[in-house]
Amino acid sequence: MSVGQGDDGHRPGRPWRRGSAHLLLQGLALGAVVLLLVLLGMRLASNGSGRGLDEALAAGRTAAAPDFSLPRLNGEGSLRLRSLRGKILVLNFWASWCTSCKQEARLLETVAKAYRADGVVVVGIDAQDFRSDARRFIDRYGLTYPIVHDSGDSTLSRYDVTGFPETWFVDRAGHVVGEHVKGPLTRAQLTRNVERAIR
């Protein structure tokens, strides 16, 4: 055996190279896992979650209503929530195939007209629905308050909407207030929350 060779006949530098190759592979695998976790985190952060809103309401804290900009169904262009700052908002999530939504549509229209002078704006957010069906619904029930269409589920997840209809109330400062109503609104629920937001 010549000087400079290991017992197995390999050069002495080889174990070190093999070790560093293993370290490199482990580093790459770890890097890939970290990258995936970061991407997952970014994805979750971009989707957001409305659970914070429900928790804030339950704890009596204030929480800003998540902003959105969505195309209008009964008007031109898009509607940005932030553009309605200074108004009291009734955010009603609905779909044309939802039976309960039909029950509350006329009530919402009546309240939208009755409280318009007090700076109350009802905003309908149609989701998980065909736009053509939603437009037929709007015509059938004669809805004049602004209605937008969410073609993804981003708004639903940010407002923790798990079914239709659901309604949030937003004060003039842009904070969610009152109750998060899951299911069809009653006249009493609607007026109670609107009056609370006006005060």
């Binding site: 390999h10 998980q128 065909f130 073609s151 993804g152």
Partner: protein, 158 residues
């Protein structure tokens, strides 16, 4: 070399056999096919499994578009414009969802490279130390082990 030619010919034949039905399915889709490829947006199940009101409405829409002569891609594109990309059962091959396609491919490619590198390394180490594999059989047995082996074998001779 002949084996390689056979493999290429078989792959080409398989490609042709699979391409023809795929093209027909794209041009003349059926509701049944699309029910496997579209999700119900409310219950997040395959359309074929869902009885939600919106799922029934999507089936009606698909039937109407098939009757109008739309291709499968056109119907899916229309559904995505109404419900977003979550309506597709397979993730789209762009944006964040591209990872769902890329990771398995990178995984396969990376595994191939690692296995190839390991195999190459083993082959080289085998070449460097010829006779190494047979070394254990050439090595003389320990005298104590040899005696024990003889005793054990003698039991079978009785």
């Amino acid at each position: 070399m002949t084996a390689v030619r056979w493999a290429i010919a078989t792959a080409a034949l398989l490609g042709l056999l699979l391409a023809a039905p795929a093209a027909a399915s794209e041009r003349h889709p059926t509701l049944g096919e699309l029910e496997h490829e579209v999700m119900c947006p409310t219950c997040h199940q395959l359309l074929e499994l869902s009885h939600a009101p919106v799922a029934d409405r999507i089936r009606t829409f698909i039937n109407a578009r098939i009757a109008a002569g739309d291709t499968k891609s056109e119907i899916k594109h229309r559904l995505v414009s109404e419900f977003g990309e979550a309506v597709l059962a397979s993730p789209p091959a762009h944006g964040f969802s591209l990872l769902a396609w890329a990771i398995p491919l990178f995984g396969l490619g990376g595994s191939g490279v690692v296995i190839g590198a390991l195999a190459w390394g083993w082959t080289r180490s085998g070449r460097r130390s010829p006779g190494h594999a047979g070394a254990s059989s050439d090595r003389p047995l320990d005298p104590e082990l040899a005696r024990r082996l003889d005793r054990e074998l003698a039991r079978f001779d009785r």
